[in-house]
Symmetry: C2
Subunit: 302 residues, 2 copies
Amino acid sequence: MTDIEFKQKLENYQTRINECLSTILGKPLEKSESATEAAYYSLECGGKRIRPLLVLEFAYICGVPEEKVWDYLPIACTTELIHTYSLIHDDLPCMDNDDFRRGKLSCHKQYGEDIALLAGDALNTKAFEIISNEAINNVVSFETACRLINILSSAAGFKGMVGGQVIDLQSEGRQIDIDTLTLLQSGKTGAMITAACLMGCAIAGEYNSRIYADAAHYSALLGRTFQIVDDILDVTGDFESLGKPIGSDAQQGKSTFVSLLGLEGAKEQAENLTNQSLAMLENFKNNEFIKMLTQKLLNRSY
Amino acid sequence: MTDIEFKQKLENYQTRINECLSTILGKPLEKSESATEAAYYSLECGGKRIRPLLVLEFAYICGVPEEKVWDYLPIACTTELIHTYSLIHDDLPCMDNDDFRRGKLSCHKQYGEDIALLAGDALNTKAFEIISNEAINNVVSFETACRLINILSSAAGFKGMVGGQVIDLQSEGRQIDIDTLTLLQSGKTGAMITAACLMGCAIAGEYNSRIYADAAHYSALLGRTFQIVDDILDVTGDFESLGKPIGSDAQQGKSTFVSLLGLEGAKEQAENLTNQSLAMLENFKNNEFIKMLTQKLLNRSY
């Protein structure tokens, strides 16, 4: 796969994911439109769309034919709904109190805290409504839908994303060790990245199989790399590329992989993890794109 | 059914629902326990448990044998998880800013706003994890689980409970008419009461059938009665029975069924709706308990 072919496939994914997200909530009800508006506002703030992309790509590398993958766009986008709800709530004054997200005003600065809270709540719920709908409409079997809902909900909940956020809150203003930081991030960021890969497997009918375990292993490595690179970019990046202020972790006294390992140590670990990820991908067919993506995520600047 | 038999059945429901709720989230993870603790705190604040009770009772009156009903306790309790998350978020300073709930400190006063927010988020997600688990563990079919998840998620989301809360926010500090108040309450309170009844039907294998439509009709009448009685109790009740301050609606300048219809007008309407509800229940077998419950909900003092 050439660089140009990679870029085309990536952009095609992102374009179709963005198209799907722009109508996924349906039309707002006349009298209760502001929460839907606020949710669309945050959904359309951009981002790399890495989670829905991983769902679709894992469906593909687990055996779903290339042209059939698009049937699963709404299901793939449920990961972005959950991710977006978590960002909206994370930006609230009682959490990180961030006024900006991806270069735009955060949801509560634009719509008020109450509407932002409710928009996040309804996005969370909507993810599960969509997957159950796709089963009722025969896009996936009822069994597959239940597997998908189980993967997504357990990744997002008390023992996944929310669990990681709680450890994050408990770690505020004090030094934590590398094990705690790894546990924190495996919940906060890693759980949803793993969920995306496993949802792709489940769509392809792979469940609790050898290839499912390989996907879980790969996604754990990818999730860790992803977060380490985030921490590196918080030191070496710029506002324009990232759409958020630089150095905010250090300013808030947060322990990061950079503060614990040093910049060079963090870079080295990200490279090691990427090499392990690439090795794991050798177990999958049609792996050219996902391998290039894994490599590019290591070297991203945004 | 005698009054004593009614009371025994009601207490049995509530006891078993409370037992189920007290372990439903599993054990907290060591390092991320505070959100789980906060969620249990709010789940264990009591309440009438009317939603899970309706799930179980509708399963029963739609044909599930009495002793088999208890298999569906965890599924029934998911309605209480969603209800509890909505109460936790509703009490937050950016929403109703209530310091008390059922006579105890509200979740954010006890655990902080950040943990309360996350506990609510994870309770929302957990509901869907539980239902999908019950399918994976063969308690219900995958199809039934998808129907249940679809009913619950659409009732809780943008066009249901959250939609009603948005209209509520938009109505703050101004007079609204009876149609808007009815629309607001049919979302905010009604949607989840309807969901509970319909989930009971779905467990019994009734879906989009005549009896399903009857349950939908009954539940809409019950939901409206329930809210009117709530509004009446906000004027005529006392702190001890209700566990919250009296007169808070009037104090906040909220339009209620009492402010719009007058106390006598509201009482009359609640009675009319109850009579219609009772007539609708004639279409169900084994309806002695649900009829007495419907009557008692009209005359409740808490």
